[in-house]
Symmetry: C2
Amino acid sequence: MKAATPAVKSGDAALAFRALADTSRVEILRILAGGERCVCELAATLGLSQPLLSHHLRTLREVGLVRVRKEGRWMHYALAREGVAECHGVLDAVLEHHDASTRLGRPGCC
Amino acid sequence: MKAATPAVKSGDAALAFRALADTSRVEILRILAGGERCVCELAATLGLSQPLLSHHLRTLREVGLVRVRKEGRWMHYALAREGVAECHGVLDAVLEHHDASTRLGRPGCC
DNA sequence: TTGACATATAAATGAATATTGATATAATAA
DNA sequence: TTATTATATCAATATTCATTTATATGTCAA
């Protein structure tokens, strides 16, 4: 079986994974999975300094893993489903391809 | 709804994502998804210098995304399904939690 | 044993990143 | 207007990471 040309380029995926390569940012995604939060809520929950949190949020924003909505002086951050789904999809494809080829790899099966 | 305590700690996930935060390493995983490969095959496919490739493989090994099998002077690298599945699972949980809470977020629905 | 080959490790360097502290902006309240 | 609050950015430093070159290890063949 030939591997199909992947929908997401490895470079793009790596970029998104780099944004996930930090404990606080994974935490942020997990919190935002529960719904939109303003920066101050995130700061309170995570116990990060405000500039540091702001920096992490920017990193996540830049690769499209979260989105912002401004409301007065509050910034409300929310999960960007598509972005997360893209990373998820890359791993999904790897697992599926792997499962498919290991099935094939066992002679006599199927 | 309350978020369940995640099965994989954010720190561990971040560590694995860090290993994925490189174009070559994502490529390696994609190749290995098709089955075991020896280092020289990977080197030929990816066009990386031998020491650089070796370094990337070590990074992937250290976080449990690939495994090695020695055979004479050849090292055969293979995908470590569990490791990949763990990363996949973290994103999966985020997406599921998100979907669940956005459904709840729409009043009148369900 | 010698040599060739496959792979790993070490050291060095430059680039990218995290973190902090200080400051800026922008919106609201007094 | 001035003060206050929420957030972002900037500059500086420390740390981590990718890459290269050189060298080491281990295995096989002659």
